[in-house]
Subunit: 404 residues, 2 copies
């Protein structure tokens, strides 16, 4: 019998030789401890999962076991792409099943786009702050990020035009509705102005649109992809995670001709295809709207929680803090005065039993330390009030212990 | 209104600028036409899906909607890793839940390993022929492949030792049981000898084990990972696709300490986590063996189809062809005499209404053209007989049209 090799140690790739776990995921482990009130993750309230319709959908899927349990195609079940194409067309983006690829969550759309579009060193223009998993995922493909100046309406068109001229980016990555993490929404006029810049310059847009079903105020605003000419140069990512349930793990990407075939090849390597059971359940769900739960109660509850958080949060944070007032989605964003460090504040908050996500991971320039993301959808109002009280104590203790 | 950008065309990454679809997947589209008898894909017969137990499993999963429909952890549901760890331990590889990562099909394990282990130019030693999607997937990570000499028992240990000395490989990739595509099985003695070489040299093994539940003759042989010392330097990939159903799209990897955390980070980018619904259904299935269909009928049916294919196939193929006689799995492998070209033969077969996979894609040296993979599990015996008759006609027509 040969002994175990005394010196065996795996030789990792350079990209993963010193991997760091996502700071948010490590944090989510911490805040899932009993008694902690978490404002950290973007976790839907399970009370609003549409259980009767979802159960009916899985039952229906398993009535076709020879399809539901069998291998499927990498681009996704034809019936699912057909149903999604109809939905997108009705929402203003003319779409055929051949424009779509089904993804295992819309997160996977980011990975596929990174693989097929980006070589090391390629520039991607982003909002600042932006979705941290997009930074991580495109970063694995070797992309460099340049933050474009934003105001309360989103990216500033003149700054976008200048950044395109200076950096020749491969992609522009935007989350126009209820942005993660800022909660900001681009106005329709701003979307049109951004579309004009992209059409003039011919730069491809990645439009990440996971939250648009979670609108609490005002009327829906069209996606940038729906503006004339833009569908041909936009990858539009949407998902069931926020509108139905995250555990089903299905999203989709509508992408320009010429990109989809490459994404299908990339997906073959990644998982061959998304779960056929889940896909056929999604087909049943989408094609049976009469079974769906009325979303009114969910939206009213989330709106009331948003209001509670906007009302309560200022008493916890230092004078001079700027807090956004999102009209949809899951998050608001606080910018504390210069000199505050939310990474350093977090242990104080955890000691008090409340969690949030420090903002540094959402910035291209991670030395920015005075911002934080606050999720408002998961907790009932009394927990929001109690969590903010804990956060206020944490801020006081943190302030008391800083050298003056 | 700005007009569509006249020159927009997506600028792809170098790796995907000229992607080719998997030849097998393109072929599977062809052979799915009505009337074609396909010996191409490794498609389980849906008659043997364990439908009552699977339905019960999904019903049970959706009885915990607050878990089943919610976000999960990237490494996989704790209960599923617990159940799989018990199964693997019982099968001779002592395993804890912390050794495992749940994957969206075991195909995903290959992608994760490629990402975390391989830099461009790294060498991976493989059997010849080997699983074509492994070549494609590790190839996307930039790996170079070196084929190690094989005999009917699998890789030749002395050749493996010499190849390690010459090429300093990052990984050795083997499919010891009922190999895809060759149908070959490594004997226990050979596995021990291979383990000894790997333990001496400290090279990491990727042991791909998707088929071991599909054994038609003889007694189970332990995985190489189960030999003393080997678990610490082996990534062992297994799956529900072949034992339960491919559509559920779940597999798992048992990996050495130090690799799993990196794979979890890679998986965060790829899909955040595998479907929670499917994972909780798999927990119920694994922990309720009393609900399972007796596999005897499936194994007897597949065995009879194997026998029919082994009996029939020789009459179709030219004199001097060597055909394997697999004791399990889904495939047998034919090596035609020198000069035959199965890529060129395929259109003749399709014209007769029968499909197979030309062997070239399974070889490191794709100029090898005289081999073919034949799946025997999907079709009933009468279709096997008829399909072989069609193949015989195709071979005759092909031969008649070759310049002599």
């Amino acid at each position: 019998m040969t002994a175990p090799h005394p010196e065996f140690s795996p030789r990792m790739s350079r990209a993963f030789a010193q991997t760091e776990d996502s700071p948010v995921r490590a944090l989510l482990d911490l805040v899932s401890r009993p008694g902690v009130i978490s404002f950290a993750g973007g976790i839907p309230d399970p009370a609003f999962f549409d259980l009767p319709a979802i159960r009916a959908a899985y039952t229906a899927a398993l009535e076709k076991p020879e399809r539901a349990l069998q291998y499927s195609s990498s681009e996704g079940e034809p019936d699912l792409r057909e149903a999604i194409a109809r939905k997108m067309t009705a929402e203003g983006v003319p779409t055929g099943p051949g424009d779509l690829i089904i993804t295992t969550g819309s997160q996977q759309g980011l990975t596929l786009l990174g693989q097929v579009m980006c070589d090391p060193g390629d520039v991607i223009l982003v909002e600042d702050p932006t979705y941290l998993a997009a930074l991580q995922t495109f970063g694995l493909a070797g992309a460099r990020f340049v933050a474009v100046e934003c105001d309360d309406d989103g990216v500033v068109p003149s700054a976008l035009r200048a950044a395109i001229a200076e950096h020749d980016p491969k992609l522009v990555y935007l989350i126009p509705s209820f942005q993660n993490p800022s909660g900001r929404t681009m106005s329709e006029d701003r979307r049109r102005a951004v579309a004009d810049v992209l059409l003039e310059t011919g730069v491809m847009l990645v439009e990440d649109d996971p939250y648009s079903a979670l609108r609490y105020d005002g009327e829906p605003i069209p996606t940038i992809a729906s503006f004339e000419g833009m569908a041909a140069q936009t990858a539009l990512l949407q998902t069931f995670s926020k509108s139905v349930a995250p555990g089903i793990r299905l999203g989709w990407a509508r992408v320009p001709a010429g990109i989809r075939d490459a994404m299908v090849v990339a997906k073959q390597a990644i998982d061959l295809h998304s779960s056929t059971v889940d896909q056929l359940a999604a087909v049943h769900y989408l094609t049976h709207p009469e079974t769906h739960m009325d979303p009114t109660e969910k939206l009213e509850t989330y709106r009331a929680r948003r209001d509670a958080m906007v009302r309560e949060l200022p008493r916890a944070l230092p004078e001079g803090t700027h807090v956004t007032h999102p009209i949809g989605g899951m998050f608001l964003w606080a910018e504390l005065p210069e000199g505050w460090d939310t990474d350093a504040l977090l242990p104080y908050a955890m000691a008090e039993g409340v969690g949030f996500v420090p903002g540094s991971s959402f910035h291209v320039d991670t030395s920015i330390r005075n911002t934080m993301r606050i999720s408002f959808v998961t907790n009932p109002e009394e927990d929001i009030v109690e969590g903010v009280t804990r956060l206020a104590r944490a801020v006081q203790r943190y302030r008391a212990e800083q050298p003056s």
